[in-house]
Symmetry: C2
Subunit: 442 residues, 2 copies
């Protein structure tokens, strides 16, 4: 068989990198659970019509079909695709199970998603997202929009990564403002402003004229709004200074003030009101979030989301929600790329029990059993080679301790192979220092 | 939008069930790490030619393709399928990364897999497997085959499930025995005997005659071998009493004795040598494992595997391995079906902090923050409704405590809503009993 090669866009971490990923996912999960979010997993596939509801992303969907599907019967399979995010499946799940759920429903969901995009740095075809969402029936209190940055702030600050800055805006501010200055297609204006970072203000002004029918003065006003940024409620004064009046604008300002002030009280410097944040997707209706990793700003947001009022509805019943998604694979890919995340060894093993001879392997197994019962990750040497070779087995993997079972009634001894120190020990009592017990992520 | 419906074969657990699944996966992972297995995840897709190497299962593969794939370019995508197990991807991973790995390489892998099978009770199209494997370069010590049941025994016994019985056999015994009695196609004989539980001895004898060219006496001998079962090395005497002699048979007996004796020393009753265990797949070459959940035997094995010498090879280099796979979704599906697994509440939340009025929400947020900093999962009430309504919010989710922030300088109070007891408390000092801190799985 010829040597297999990687598939572009489908990253595979090494085992030490996977240890770091598990550490990161455990911390994120812990933060989500501290806020009372319940875990959920949805199936990897959704009916194609569900996946295409979201607009712009239809080109990214992977369809699945059975290799041996009989032409006649299993037509259902042909209309299934892999989910490309966790929000659309969640909205479907809520509709499907509304009768069994308690509202407001707070759930977190950590899963892989797939997009048939062209792979590039920081963009994958298969990647892990970690989402939280809160949905309610009919109405959802605006204070939930202020809670999301607290959860994400706690989750991301529990990780060994650079500090983050959560940028917040509110769609109502943009839409109200655009309407207030007389633009009739606020969504087109929003999509144009969303390109500000990519194409710059001059091109956005052109786009506003072309797609939203903006006059020069209107385009200038849109750009002035997008320039506003403040870590506190002072953004509201800057907006009002532009002299535009609209009820939706006022509502949006009030909601955004609440988000920024709640976040500032929880942790100063975590959040900034940044009125250029638009989020391209159509379904957001209130607060929107993006998150910059300090020092990695050029790679874009690592954690984004917002409020959506119309993603899930059945007849007259609506389920408004707010949520956010951490791009875990993207975050790790960036940090692995710069060597910013390391782990203290390549395996979970803390102790390697040496084997004196194959006849004595069971004695080594008994030592290992005793250590494991006390929570110490332990391997038994795969061979009864000379001790020097067994020690090298441990060294190559970063296993800190080698245990030598005592022969002929002599005491067992344990060696710290980093310092070379060796002491008598019994497997029912010996305990490694806490920092040696599990691999440490730095 | 019309109400969505489930897709057959793609199970979705409720949030409380997902809490149980996470608990189970955490325990399995902990057991695997205690034995020094390093974590690995492989991508969900493999090239179709890799997936079709394994023989019988080709009909079960799901292919993927991009919805908007341009007919010309992206031919690569068309030849990708979702993995149907974790062994084939692992063998591919080892070949691809052989130069970077340390051998013997011990890894665990817990992921979803997909099979386009007809769904039925205990059979899914999407399900989670938890695998361990040990591979080495060129040769792999037989003692690794004896280690696998210890790991699985520890993993499964750490779960709140009925006891298990691991049934072990060795392909070398069957093949050596079949050859020893003069059968020329031992694989055909193996496949016939593999159907013993399904179709009974009379039909197996017919099949042996038809597909393996067995005489009546040869078929009888094969069935006599398959009848042998013992929790200790006495199975070897029973095999020898059949009077068949073959070097491969002797090798197999020696290896199986070692597996059974190692397991008996570790935990009596965990393993039984059962010579009817064949495992239908072609790639096993030594020990094979199946696992019965006591009381659920009719649903078949919940954990299976074996030794494979020829799954991964590159030119003259071979990577023999041994591994086993816990069918997590299957196990949970069975136990959820009989109500045998429950969790003490529906959400991670231990404390609901009441909100006196929307103006006072920030005071409640501060209480919640203080509790979370001390590791207590806490929600703030979504509404400032009457306290009775806020208490019912907690009751409906099984949240055990409601916290009332003190008004006008009065002390805070915390109420155990199960007993009705209420005491003064401060969020910097109050701690719930350990059994209330996290949801308890029973």
């Amino acid at each position: 068989m010829s040597k297999p090669t990687p598939i572009s866009g489908f990253p595979e971490w090494t085992p030490p990198q996977r240890m770091i990923e598990q550490y990161v996912l455990d911390r994120i999960r812990n933060a989500f659970e501290l806020y009372g979010f319940a875990p959920l997993e949805t199936r990897a596939v959704e009916p194609l019509d569900q996946l295409l509801r979201k607009g712009e992303t239809s080109k990214e969907v992977y369809l699945i079909r059975r290799l041996q599907a009989d032409e006649s019967g299993a037509a259902g399979d042909d209309a299934l695709g892999l989910h490309f995010d966790l929000t659309v499946p969640f909205a479907r799940y809520v509709l499907e199970n509304a009768g069994k759920l308690q509202f407001p429903f707070r759930r977190y969901q950590i899963q892989k998603v797939w997009r048939g995009e062209r792979p590039q740095e920081g963009r994958y075809r298969e990647f892990v997202q970690a989402d939280i969402d809160i949905v309610d029936r009919d109405t959802l209190g605006a204070h939930h929009e202020a809670e999301i940055p607290l959860v994400i702030g706690d989750a991301l600050r529990s990780l060994p990564i650079p500090p983050v800055l959560i940028q917040v805006n509110n769609r109502k501010i943009c839409e109200g403002f655009y309407r207030g200055i007389g633009l009739t297609d606020p969504e087109a204006a929003l999509r144009a402003v969303d390109k500000l970072d990519k194409i710059g203000p001059a091109k956005v002004a052109e786009l506003l004229a072309q797609t939203a029918g903006a006059s020069e003065a209107q385009a200038k006003a849109c750009l002035a709004l997008a320039e506003i940024s403040a870590p506190d409620a002072s953004f509201a004064d800057a907006v009002r200074a532009l002299g535009v009046s609209d009820p939706l604008l006022d509502e949006g300002i009030e909601e955004l003030v609440r988000v920024v002030e709640t976040a500032a009280e929880h942790s100063p410097g975590l959040c900034v009101a940044d009125l250029r944040i638009a989020r391209g997707l159509d379904y957001y209706t209130g607060t929107v979030y993006e998150t910059q990793l300090r020092g990695y700003e050029r790679y874009g947001s690592v954690c984004s989301g917002g409020r959506y009022d119309n993603l899930a509805s059945a007849g007259a019943v609506r389920f408004p929600g707010v949520g956010i998604s951490i791009g875990v694979t993207r975050l790790l890919g960036l940090l692995f790329g710069t060597g910013a995340l390391t782990v203290s060894r390549d395996v979970p093993t803390c102790v390697l029990v040496a084997v004196t001879s194959e006849e004595e392997r069971r004695a080594s197994n008994r030592v290992a059993d005793a250590l494991r019962r006390r929570g110490v990750p332990t391997e038994v040497s795969p061979s009864a080679a000379k001790f020097g070779k067994q020690i090298r087995y441990a060294e190559r993997r970063g296993i800190p301790y080698v245990w030598f079972p005592g022969a002929d009634g002599a005491a067992d001894e344990v060696k710290d192979i980093r310092s070379g120190e060796q002491h008598p020990a019994t497997p029912d009592a010996w305990t490694p220092p806490p920092t040696d017990l599990k691999p440490q992520v730095n």
